[in-house]
């Protein structure tokens, strides 16, 4: 049976509460993982492992959090900003994320803001529907 968006949210919320030691009321759909919830790089792997268990899916790390690999490629980053090519790559790799405001100022320090709770829910939803 397909899960509803609310059910997915509840499970994602539980995963983030356990992985990041935050309160459940902090995990809103528009909360950013790094800025609002204090996630660090190893936490992303922890979250990936926990999501795989919670939903019984397989998640290649670069699929859910692709920006990490983009940031280290000189073709995609110039003077701390994402290049056109990098932007195209990001759009392709993060179809489940709204990139509009980032496109206006593609400062790589703001890449972290793209990882929102909502982006995870969208990703999981897409993955479950594809299965």
């Amino acid at each position: 049976m397909a899960m509803s968006r609310d059910e997915i949210f509840t499970q994602v919320q539980e995963v983030l509460v356990d992985a990041l030691g935050v309160d459940d009321d902090e995990v809103t759909t528009d909360a950013t993982l790094m800025g609002d919830l204090g996630a660090e790089s190893i936490d992303f792997l922890d979250i990936v492992f926990r999501l795989e268990k919670a939903f019984g899916i397989k998640i290649p790390r670069e699929e859910l959090f692709p920006a990490e690999s983009l940031m280290n490629n000189s073709e995609y980053v110039h003077n701390g900003k994402l290049t056109e090519k990098g932007m195209a790559e990001l759009r392709e790799k993060m179809p489940h994320t709204n990139l509009t405001s980032f496109e206006n100022d593609p400062d790589i320090n703001k890449l972290g803001d793209l990882f929102t709770v909502n982006a995870i829910i969208n990703y999981v939803e897409g993955k479950l529907n594809a299965a």
């Binding site: 790089s41 190893i42 922890d46 990936v48 492992f49 940031m71 280290n72």
Partner: protein
């Protein structure tokens, strides 16, 4: 010299689980200060013992080729004291293992009494940290690997025999 904080492995199933033992003795100097007149094993050192048990399990799963670093203590809950003369048993299970990292769950018992539950995450640092360069030499399992291998040898061969017997 490597600081080894467990005494032996009694079970070792490659890539899945391991059980080790640590004998606690009043010859360990820190117990005289922790606490005077009431020696109990510091909880941080129980985490260290679990990190070694689970870390060697994770390292062996990738044939000791990765630099396995303790990256996160996901959970550490303690339920009872460990005193000099006690032998604690540490059981670690691999929950997930990927190219970049592994997560483990574990529990510590003493004479079947639950002492602690400790869940950890390890990073394979060459696969992480955004292309930062680390020394070629494997400073985790490089020169000290012979010690780790001797620690697990007996348990590995016994577990191997058990698996063969079951087949």
């Amino acid at each position: 010299m490597r600081w080894i904080w467990i005494d032996k492995f009694v079970e070792f199933e490659s890539g899945r689980r391991a059980v080790s033992l640590k004998n606690v003795t009043l010859a360990e100097e820190h117990l005289h200060d922790h606490f005077p007149g009431f020696p109990v094993m510091p909880e941080c050192l129980m985490i260290e013992a679990m990190a070694q048990t689970a870390g060697i399990l994770v390292g062996q799963a990738k044939k000791f080729r990765e630099k396995v670093i303790l990256a996160k203590i996901k959970k550490a809950a303690f339920f009872d004291y460990v005193k000099p003369g006690d032998t604690i048993e540490l059981e670690a299970n691999i929950e997930s293992i990927a190219q970049e990292a592994a997560s483990t769950s574990g529990k510590i018992t003493c004479s079947d009494k639950l002492i602690a539950e400790i869940d950890l995450m390890f990073s394979h640092i060459d696969q992480n940290l955004a292309g930062k360069e680390f020394p070629e030499e494997n400073f985790v399992f490089g020169t000290g690997t012979s010690v780790f291998e001797s620690l697990i040898r007996d348990a590995l061969s016994e577990s191997g025999q058990k698996t063969e017997a079951n087949q």
